[in-house]
């Protein structure tokens, strides 16, 4: 019966081909990442294949306050599912130290496609490396990584789940791998706009929403590109003009602090427009409370500086009131109720 190799045996071979430790436990099941029909293919990190067990483990960790030094803060404290995994605050003080963070917590949406850096300035290259940031930062989870491993080892469920997912012990590397796997399942692709694009039931857009879509495609597309509504790149969108403050290791200078390229002065990563209605306040410091403020900004409040992106006119896009309303209406069609209520992404 050798011909009757099942795919799962073959797949499990892939996983064991490199593992040093022999184990009799069942192999983790490869997770079939479903790419939404209107989305591009994501680029995966092959060194951390997604498995059902790994994702489940990542989900347990994401919601677990044990990940913080005082056992009170979890990733979800600042990344709340009902707000598309953002936190509703301009600058959070939900971290262990209770001090105010320097930057706004972004929504965690479609991270499987975020292949050009994470954080507002792209300081982390992938989700695996990124997670060490919040875990160790004193104003966030302030966790001692040695203690974290000890704490998780005291929980039999975790010992079992790490073994199932990685056939390995609990380690800080496996913790960030599991978190990354879970975060790659945060796919938002079932808004009314998506249903419209895929010609699905309930996929109707009103004429005003269609007008808004057209405007967004004309004016915003250069950065909020394609179906992801982001180009994953860094731009100065004219919210500030003076970047001479180089305090806090260049915090206010955006991408420049990572690239040291003068052209990147004041550039920040384009956030997706998906679920924008849920992710107020807006921008890297949460300075705009309402979406209307954002549209007013692009319409006529652009601050001009040498690095202002060329696709934004120095006097703004000069939208008339109807156009503003249309853009607002369209942005609201990007809200994905299924995403923010999906039980598979909720606290386990």
């Amino acid at each position: 019966m050798k011909i009757n190799f099942s795919y799962s045996i073959l797949l499990s071979l892939i996983l064991t081909a490199c593992s040093k430790k022999e184990s009799v436990d069942p192999e983790p099941q490869i997770y079939q990442f479903a790419v939404p029909a209107n989305f591009p293919r994501p680029v995966f990190d092959i060194e951390n294949a997604m498995t059902r067990e790994g994702i489940e483990l990542g989900r347990m960790l994401f919601y677990d306050v044990r990940l913080s030094g005082n056992n009170k803060v979890s990733c979800a404290s600042c990344h709340d599912q009902k707000l598309a995994f953002s936190d509703g605050k301009a600058l959070s003080n939900a971290g262990v130290s209770g001090t105010i963070l320097h930057r706004h917590a972004p929504a965690l949406v479609n991270l499987a496609w975020a292949n050009n850096g994470l954080f507002w300035d792209g300081g982390a290259t992938n989700l695996e490396s990124q997670a060490f940031g919040p875990l160790t930062a004193s104003d966030e989870m302030h966790q001692d990584l040695f203690e974290l491993v000890d704490e998780l080892n005291a929980v039999p469920e975790y010992v079992k789940q790490f073994d199932l997912a990685f056939k390995d012990q609990i380690s800080s590397q496996n913790i960030v791998k599991a978190l990354a796997q879970f975060q790659r399942t945060l796919v938002s692709a079932n808004s009314r706009y998506d249903k419209f694009k895929r010609n699905e039931a309930e996929g109707n857009l009103s004429s005003m929403e269609l007008r808004g879509l057209e405007l967004v495609r004309q004016k915003c597309q250069s950065c909020h590109t394609g179906e992801l509504f982001t180009d994953n790149a860094y731009h100065n969108n004219g919210i500030d003009a003076d970047f001479s403050n180089d305090q806090s290791e260049g915090l206010f200078q955006g991408r420049f602090r990572i690239s040291y390229n003068p052209a990147d002065m004041g550039s920040f990563k384009t956030p997706t427009l998906r679920n924008a209605a849920l992710t107020a306040p807006y921008m890297h410091d949460g300075r705009f409370t309402k979406l209307e403020d954002v549209i007013d900004h692009y319409s006529g409040e652009i601050k001009v500086s040498p690095t202002l992106d060329k696709t934004i006119p120095t006097n703004g896009f000069q939208f008339n009131p109807d156009e503003k309303k249309a853009i607002m209406a369209f942005l609201n069609t990007l809200t994905d109720e299924e995403f923010v209520t999906n039980r598979e992404l909720s606290r386990p």
Binding site: I14, D121, S129, V176
Partner: protein, 263 residues
């Protein structure tokens, strides 16, 4: 159809492994072991911490010297390469380092002098040269979750601080430099993928590791600081891109030379 699928999978099995053992054209007849030493020196003197050295017109007193050596490859007389698996080594000479607040509230990295690496399972043969890199290759530098060799975020040779580029620090040298009445506390570090440097060094004569006990390479610290004005730029890091790149080039192009073969 199925066959094609199986072939594709088989290819995956082989490619899913770490790339480290794909240069094994040399058949191991009788595997040998050896010690590769990176002997830190200041010109002709042995490198030491907390001791004054004169380099040019300046006096240096070092408090640390650390750098990653990676992807060490031995090249035989036919040109075949043997890449030592998982070869990521932290070479260093440091006093107690206070790493509190990095990944642990209280963390002291104990004083250590490490100049040698032990290598086993070298396929038999005559080797004419060695190749290695200073720093960590982009694949591992960009992903702190990959485990290989001595790579770790627990030894203070990585950046994981909140909102800073998460990656490894390739090299780090610190101390005090004086010239006349001016002096500066310096900390000169390299990092970032562009500054990953590969060094090739020929042995004076072909080496057979079944008899040779070891190879000594010299790291000359005077060459590391050559042309770098540490009084003017005492903190060299990503914010001083040009100086950092010059420093990395020094490591890659002139600081390392052949020393001797220990028989």
């Amino acid at each position: 159809m199925k066959r094609i699928f199986i072939f594709a999978i088989a290819a995956l099995i082989f490619t899913s492994c770490d790339n480290n053992d794909d240069s094994t054209e040399i058949q191991p007849v009788e595997n040998a072991k050896t010690t590769i030493t990176f002997d830190a020196r200041v010109g002709n003197a042995d490198f030491a911490l907390n001791k004054d050295f004169t380099i040019g017109t300046r006096t240096y007193n070092f408090s640390k010297l650390r750098y990653w050596v990676s992807n060490v490859t031995l090249i035989d007389s036919k040109g075949a390469e043997y890449l030592i698996p998982d070869s990521y080594y932290l070479m260093e000479e440091v006093g107690d380092l206070n790493l509190s607040g990095t990944i642990s509230d209280k963390l002291t990295y104990p004083a250590r002098k490490r100049e040698s690496i032990d290598v086993e399972d070298i396929p038999a043969g005559e080797y004419k040269s060695i190749k290695f890199s200073i720093g960590v290759d982009s694949k591992h530098n960009d992903n702190l979750s990959l485990q290989s060799g001595e790579l770790s975020i627990a030894n203070g040779m990585s950046n994981i601080a909140w909102m800073w580029h998460t990656s490894y620090i390739f090299s780090s040298v610190a101390g005090i430099v004086k010239e006349g009445t001016t002096s500066a506390d310096f900390l000169a570090e390299t990092g970032l993928n562009a500054n990953y440097k590969t060094v090739s060094i020929d042995f004076a004569a072909p080496v057979n590791f079944s008899t040779a006990k070891g190879v000594v390479l010299n790291l000359d610290v005077t060459k590391i600081v050559d042309g770098i004005d540490l009084i003017k730029t005492p903190k060299v890091n990503a914010a001083q891109a040009e100086v950092m790149s010059a420093l990395a080039t020094n490591y890659g192009s002139k600081a390392m030379t052949f020393g001797s073969i220990a028989n």
